[in-house]
Symmetry: C2
Subunit: 296 residues, 2 copies
């Protein structure tokens, strides 16, 4: 399979669905919807939705309501970027090559756009018109996965660990704990949600959860490496911001080459978990490789 074509096709599917469910920029309250759209449709890679789709494909059963489920992950991811960029948080001016949300719409609207995107993620997963055909027991389980992965014990918790580590001489376990929560838990939720939507067995869900945890780590290491080696054009934001902020990252502990090797090991381990899925898991395998080779 060609991973580039696969990514492009799935990204188009996701973009089309996001555009469909997201109210237009003229629907009242118009500025709120415009601001939500600005960040939601800003050309994200849609890694989490695509991972969820690929996990559902690996399980192989039809998955009613798959698109709202996988797109809810992008709503969560987008809100987290808007709030992370705020002046009182990372204070970033650029994201994906464009001014950050609060630079365009002001802080108050950026906070509210984030709140609305976060809430809308759960709206998508519970809307009767969108989720037709999805078994309700399964639907509640999917909502629980999303809430757990993105909340106080997941992504938001990780953001707190991250803030508390700023300008501190943290050790490797502390760094691992930050990433496990900040990036790892939502990627884990993405893969599990795709699998659950497609009716995975407990055994399949265990294997896919292991895969997700490994690629979550690989994803973060690759991000840290890109922050050192990427250009402003590749990243769509300023490079080397971690070092400037005195942030410890994987390259700090292992060097750039050591960190790359570590990420590759994670990918190998992740893909070893997929043995029982055969060719149906080929997209997941390619996605794991893509994660460490990407340039942005």
């Amino acid at each position: 399979m060609n991973i580039k074509d696969y990514l492009e096709q799935k990204r188009d599917d996701v973009d089309r669905f996001l555009d469909f469910v997201m109210p237009s920029a003229t629907t009242a309250p118009a500025t709120l919807h415009e601001s939500m759209r600005y960040s939601l449709m800003a050309g994200g890679k849609r890694v989490r939705p695509i991972l969820a789709i690929a996990a559902a494909e690996a399980v192989g059963q039809p998955a009613p309501g798959l698109m709202p489920i996988v797109c809810s992950l992008e709503f969560i991811h987008t809100y987290s970027l808007i709030h992370d960029d705020l002046p009182s948080m990372d204070n970033d001016d650029f994201r994906r090559g464009k001014p950050t949300n609060h630079k365009v719409y002001g802080e108050a609207m950026a906070i509210l756009a984030g709140d609305a995107l976060l809430t809308m993620a759960f709206d998508l997963c519970s809307r009767p018109d969108l989720m037709k055909g999805c078994d309700s027991v399964r639907q509640v389980r999917l909502i629980q996965e999303l809430a757990y992965g993105s909340g106080n014990m997941g992504m938001v918790g990780g953001q707190v660990f991250d803030i508390q580590a700023e300008n501190k001489d943290i050790d490797l376990p502390t760094l691992q704990n930050i990433h496990k929560h900040k990036t790892g838990m939502l990627i884990r939720a993405a893969v599990r949600m795709g699998a659950i939507a497609a009716g995975a067995t407990d055994r399949q869900l265990d294997d896919l959860t292991g895969y997700a945890e490994d690629i979550g780590l690989a994803f973060q290491i690759a991000d840290d490496v890109l922050n050192v080696t990427g250009t402003r054009e590749e990243l769509g934001k300023n490079p080397n911001t971690d070092a400037e902020r005195g942030k410890k990252t994987y390259p700090t502990f292992y060097g750039v080459d050591g960190a790359r090797k570590l990420a590759d090991d994670c990918v190998t381990r992740a893909n070893n978990r997929l043995a029982s899925f055969g060719t149906a898991a080929e997209p997941l395998r390619e996605l794991a490789r893509y994660i460490t080779s990407r340039r942005n």
Copy 2:
């Protein structure tokens, strides 16, 4: 019935459940949980959860999972207060007689505490251990009510309408639209969620929705009046802030006495909707009266 005793008993029930589900202030990430607890347990009146309980009682059927459902409303309400108080929003220093969340924990933590409380509302409604016995179809419906009432077309939307009206010479329909969304939609969701959890018929749900819309308006008018007539001790925050900010409110349009009369009319109309429920709706009737007579 004695409404004071009723409110006190239900508030105790809600407080006990909130304390039970909210991780302790020493659970990692400790500062996040401490900050979430600081606002969640700050002595709120628990109006929304109590309305939901009273609605369930009016319908009269056992409602499995009622406590997590009604408490999810308080998680949403609390997050909205934290975010509303932020410097870039209302910039309030006091809330319920205590320094606001960001004054104690800083802006970044206050934003994240709000995000985590919002997410946890949906966690509560979907947790298998808490929601045991609740039919999944009903559970998804409850989650949808919560998401719709609190999101872009509900509470968050109302906050945006409110911000956009600041320092503008708005007319009465604009004011009504702000309140319908900002306060009304979550109160509406509260009453509907209690009713749905207890298995309300369509007809019962219609009547209770009408009741909720009327008391939502009464609640906001009473709030506006209290902002003019209340003392700092009664309110736990500075009085007369609306006038200082040049905000148009119900007393601006109708005068204090006219606004009070309007609120009383809403209560009468609300209670007329409850005829078919008989004595089981007595708490709802008393709650409607309490809303316009309260001092804070």
